[in-house]
């Protein structure tokens, strides 16, 4: 049951930033993640600051350079709808379509999706874990079948977003507005590992709001896909996933970005795997090499060793889908 809180619906970004700068204020975009966290007591709140009254945050427009600008309040359904995103950025559209459930995609926003809190059952449950300011990560010695095999340190969450790996693979830029003005952060730098700060998942500081996501134009011959494996056919987060964007000319991979979901506390880019296919044709052998490279450095715990083998298959399938 939700705790008590105040509510504000500012009418422009400046007001929103101002309200959010107050301690105890929390931003609400679609609300689907925020209300869940509040119900579970993951964190408290004094004032919910809704962005639903702020104009110009929702919608997709063409950028001057031919890329796209996606407003942070654009719903996942709109991102996944058969429009410019699907045509130019299938990786992102597929990621958005693979998230949550139809209704949650109608409510949840792209900005909210990349800022959502982890789905770790200790973090969401009544465990005072490290990410909530507690002494330890319960997953380390506990039920960690859904936890990370890369990038864990103190905390072993996986990043829950299906759109974030696509954005990293697409070299998107996240535009942020805060008390000190606006800034742009490459999606790849937006997410932070526990070693940097195990209580946060991204670079946002107090009062900052994600306003837009900028998708750069893609070179001719660029293809993309997002392959997600989950324990249940809908409404489930990735056990392992791979977002791939590759430019293929004359049958050979010219450039490629491979970013994994479900295996690390951030979208996890695997440069070794990218190098394994650049300059080569996508075939069974190169794909196998790339998948093997993607697994390098994996560190498993008692319950998540399966992720290594699962990831191998996931990466292979994602790459073969582009062949």
């Amino acid at each position: 049951m939700l705790p008590g809180f105040g509510y504000a619906r500012p009418r422009n970004l400046r007001e929103a930033v101002h309200l959010l700068s107050a301690p105890g204020a929390r931003v609400q975009a679609g609300g689907t993640d925020l209300l869940g966290c509040l119900r579970d007591g993951v964190f408290g709140v004094d004032t919910v600051v809704s962005l639903s009254g702020v104009p110009d945050l929702r919608g997709i427009r063409r950028a001057l350079d031919g890329g796209l600008v996606v407003g942070a309040m654009t719903t996942l359904s709109e991102v996944a709808a058969p429009t410019d995103v699907v045509k130019g950025y299938p990786t992102l559209a597929q990621g958005a379509a693979a998230a949550a459930s139809p209704q949650l995609r109608n409510q949840g926003t792209i900005g909210g999706n990349i800022c959502q809190r982890p789905r770790c059952w200790y973090f969401r449950g009544d465990f005072h874990c490290a990410r909530k300011g507690g002494e330890k990560c319960f997953a380390a010695e506990g039920e960690n079948q859904f936890h990370c095999i890369f990038g864990g340190d103190v905390c072993f969450i996986v990043h829950p977003s299906d759109t974030a790996p696509a954005l990293v693979a697409l070299e998107a830029v996240v535009r942020i507005t805060g008390p000190n003005g606006s800034r742009s952060v490459p999606a790849e730098k937006f997410f932070i590992l526990p070693e940097t700060d195990y209580t946060r998942e991204n670079v946002l500081t107090a009062g900052e709001i994600v306003t837009e996501i900028v998708l750069p134009p893609q070179p001719a011959g660029t293809r993309g896909t997002y392959r997600k494996v989950r324990a249940r056919g809908s409404w489930d987060f990735a056990l392992a996933g791979a977002a791939v964007v590759a430019t293929i000319t004359a049958g050979k991979v010219e450039r490629a970005r491979i970013v994994l979901s479900g295996v690390a506390p951030t979208p996890w880019r695997v440069p070794d795997a990218e190098r394994a296919i650049v300059g080569r044709r996508l075939n069974k052998r190169t794909v196998r090499d790339a998948a093997a490279a993607a697994l390098k450095g994996a560190q498993t715990m008692s319950g998540n060793a399966y992720k290594v083998e699962l990831l191998r298959g996931t990466v292979e399938e994602a790459l073969l889908a582009l062949a």
Binding site: M1, L2, P3, G4, G41, S101, R119, W121, Y122, G125, D126, F127, F138, E141, G142, E143, Q145, V229, R230, A231, R232, G233, S234, W235, D236, L239, A240, A305, Y306, E309, L310, R312, G313, T314, E316, E317
Partner: protein, 769 residues
């Protein structure tokens, strides 16, 4: 026949009086057996049906329960004093409250206090609050301070008997002596076998999670209490609540005319009934207490996990020579039957002279189990039916043929090995295999690529499904020929009301839309046991028929006078009574003066006893086809066929619906569902519908076929119907496991077959495509 007690029922139940005469079985039917939409479809589809959770009474308060967050703890001190002054709070009760000083019985003899300081599982009730809004009630619950003394716990039944394991109860962690069964001589049986196989199996614990939350609304009118309860049986709740509150039955009314699913978890009263009643009394206002979804994962039951070791012997010609099964299970922190019926299929499904079983039930610090859709049976089928597949392979026989070779004619596990009234297992297997195209798809290639296809079969029977007394039903005939059906049974979604109205229509010719139904209200409807055990149709339908016939007799007596024709020479045709001798001698029911003068005809019907010396069981065989991605371990179920012998098909449409529902639930057991305890704290970590994964629309095939073996069972009861709701889910998970094996050659003996489990097995066995 000796039928094990499946459900905990308080006190003695009244036996029905013997029926005055036993009607002959129907030879042909006009209404029964058709595909007809539900009589209460409008109510459920328009939103006019008022479920207990929909009840909003004037001046109503909302309650919330503070539950122990520890797996094993003692409440040292609860302080609710600060909370009483919080906004909206109207009452706070704890273990120290006089009004809440009540006993709660987990079994007939094992009891605690309503709020007992000893909390043996996470989720045990500690205190409760009533407030003006549910939000305020929860504010208060969160603010109550409790001092707990936290003890070590045991949450894994496999560790419960280890030396040094924390004792859940003073006497240790064994729930009585192991339950043993033996017939023949298994040592001799294994010696006679050409092949002997042995394997370990395990099914994970499941949660019922019906869509409507558990809870009730309580209202007092002086000394009289009314509960609107989401329950499968209003009379059972009435009995228990009345007895614990020491009230006359007549002063406790329980209403549950609609309810949103139970699957066995709502067969009994719950602490929330008492808590709501106490808070309503204290505040002198109605109180609504519905649990949160999260709470329902802790304290309203589960299907216990089952660890099974099965050894089986078979001759090369397919003759089974011996089964030896050991079971370890747990019903949680109280003796609620952690291993109940897990061994029944091994004992009874196939002809086998030598069988030994031993079941050890232990305590853990977990929520108490409750019967869940065919208790014990899907677990037993998971082991037995995978073993049958392995035996078939070992002797080079088709798995359908091996099962056919061992179809029983008598119930070997019942004393004296009595015959079944009907055994449709052979037809289920042969007709099912034919309709599925079994022989052809078995021979087909599994596929060259990484994605493999396979098919599987599994069979089952359900120990109950016979029904029986008591049941009383009243049918009334209004002077215009329309009717009223009054029965106590809940329609938990199986279509009970529809089937019963069809029985009335069959006997009295009343169109379904002219039958008013009152049900599941102890204040106004007749006695019925809880809807569970797949016994509602075979229990209630004969009583309904008997009531309708009682009305018919009176109607014919009235008509006989007016038509000057003997009563035994009349029948009903449409809305008229007609002479069998001369169809022109007829009168519309609405035109019968005698009926007008009487105003109403009332027929009382009861359920007669079951046949002596025979066993009434439903049978089932299921076939499925799956696709397995060997690179990811993902399993997609492509199609399912269920061939069921449940006696007469009462309504083909709702019958098919039960079948697809059972398959869907079985797919959950097979592929996605499992309770997970945190090993460090003993707390349930997957207490919501994201972390506890029940099947969605994406997890089940659209291609599901119901193939009824529509053979009325004339000895079962006067309608020829046997139970259906449980048998349909018994073999499902095993059939999926067998299909996965057929596809990739990997036998998954532990449920669920998630990608997490399967991908590792595929890789380890080099089965990657």
């Amino acid at each position: 026949m000796k039928t094990p007690k499946l459900y905990f029922v308080d006190g003695a139940v009244p036996e029905s009086p013997a029926p005055t005469d036993t009607p002959a079985p129907w030879t042909e039917t006009r209404v029964v057996g058709k595909s007809l939409p539900r009589v209460d479809a409008y109510d459920r589809l328009s939103g006019t049906a008022v479920y207990p959770s929909d009840v909003v009474l004037p001046d109503m308060l909302y309650a919330a329960v503070l539950r122990c967050p520890h797996a094993n703890a003692r409440v040292r001190k609860v302080d609710g004093s600060l909370v009483e002054r919080m906004p909206g709070v109207r009452a706070v009760i704890t273990g120290d409250s006089k009004a809440a000083d009540l006993r709660w019985y987990y079994t007939r003899t094992v009891f605690t206090k309503l709020f007992d300081p000893t909390c043996r599982f996470e989720g045990e009730a500690v205190a409760a609050v009533a407030a003006e809004t549910p939000q305020q009630a929860w504010d208060a619950v969160r603010a109550i301070t409790v001092e707990y003394e936290v003890f070590p716990f045991v949450a894994d039944e496999r560790k419960a008997l280890e030396p040094g394991a924390p004792a859940v109860h003073d006497g240790g962690n064994r729930v009585g002596e192991p339950e043993k069964y033996q017939r023949g001589d298994v040592v001799k049986g294994f010696a006679e076998a050409d092949k002997v196989l042995e394997a370990s199996y395990r099914t994970a614990a499941e949660f019922h999670t019906p869509m409507e939350l558990h809870g009730c609304v309580a209202r007092w009118d002086g000394k009289r209490l009314t509960l609107w309860d989401s329950t499968q049986g209003v009379y059972g709740v009435q009995q228990r609540v009345a007895s614990l509150l020491e009230m006359p039955l007549a002063n406790v009314r329980v209403i549950g005319s609609y309810m949103g699913g139970g699957f066995g978890s709502k067969l009994q009263a719950d602490k929330y009934n008492l808590i709501a009643a106490v808070l309503a009394k204290l505040t002198a206002r109605p109180v609504k207490l519905f649990l949160t979804r999260e709470e329902t994962f802790l304290c309203v039951g589960n299907r216990p996990p089952a660890g099974m070791r099965l050894k089986a012997g078979v001759k090369n010609d397919g003759t089974l020579t011996a089964f030896d099964l050991t079971v370890l299970g747990t019903g949680g922190a109280y003796p609620t039957g952690g291993t109940g019926l897990v061994d029944w299929l091994v004992r009874d499904l196939y002809t086998c002279p030598n069988v030994r079983t031993e079941a050890t039930d232990v305590y853990i610090n977990g929520g108490p189990s409750r019967p869940m859709r065919a208790p014990g049976h899907p677990q037993g089928a998971w082991a037995l039916e995978q073993m049958m597949d392995a035996l078939a392979e070992a002797i080079g026989m088709d798995p359908v043929q091996l099962r056919l070779k061992n179809v029983p004619t008598v119930s070997q596990a019942n004393e004296g090995q009595p015959p079944y009234t009907t055994t449709g297992l052979r037809q289920c297997l042969t007709e099912g295999a034919k309709a599925f195209g079994w022989d052809a798809v078995r021979r087909r290639s599994k596929g060259d690529g990484p994605v493999k296809r396979g098919v599987g079969v599994a069979a089952g029977l359900w120990i109950a499904g016979d029904g029986g007394p008591p049941a009383t039903v009243i049918v009334k005939l209004f002077p215009d020929g329309s009717a009223n059906l009054n029965m106590g049974a809940s329609d938990i979604g199986t279509g009970t009301k529809t089937v019963m109205a069809m029985v009335v229509a069959e006997e009295l010719g009343v169109p379904l839309e002219q039958i008013q139904i009152e049900n599941a209200d102890t204040g106004t409807t007749e006695y019925a046991t809880a809807s569970g055990g797949s016994k509602t149709v075979p229990t209630e339908a004969p009583a309904v028929r008997s009531a309708a016939l009682a009305v018919k007799r009176q109607l014919f007596e009235l008509a006989a006078e007016e038509l000057k024709v003997p009563a035994n020479q009349l029948y009903i045709e449409g809305d008229a009574v007609v002479s069998t001798k001369d169809p022109k001698v007829t009168k519309k029911i609405a035109a019968l003066q005698g009926l007008r003068r009487r105003g109403l005809l009332i027929g009382v019907g009861t359920r007669g006893p079951n046949i002596e010396g025979k066993v009434i069981n439903p049978f089932v065989a299921q076939f499925c086809e799956v696709e397995v991605d060997t690179r990811t371990g993902e399993v997609e179920v492509l199609r399912f066929l269920s061939a069921n012998d449940s006696g007469r098909v009462m309504n083909r449409l709702t019958y098919e619906n039960q079948v697809i529902g059972g398959i869907t639930m079985g797919i959950g057991l097979a592929l996605t569902e499992q309770r997970v305890f945190d090993r460090q704290t003993g707390k349930v970590v997957n207490r919501n519908w994201h972390d506890y994964k029940i099947p969605t629309a994406m997890d089940v095939p659209a291609d599901m076929t119901s193939l009824p073996i529509d053979v009325p069972d004339p000895e079962a009861n006067t309608t020829g119907a046997k139970g259906l709701g449980e048998p349909v889910t018994i073999p499902t998970a095993a059939a999926v496991a067998n299909a996965v094996y057929d596809a990739v050659g990997v036998r998954v003996t532990e449920s669920p077959i998630s990608p997490m489990r399967l991908i590792g097995l595929i890789a380890a066995r080099g089965k990657r495509g």
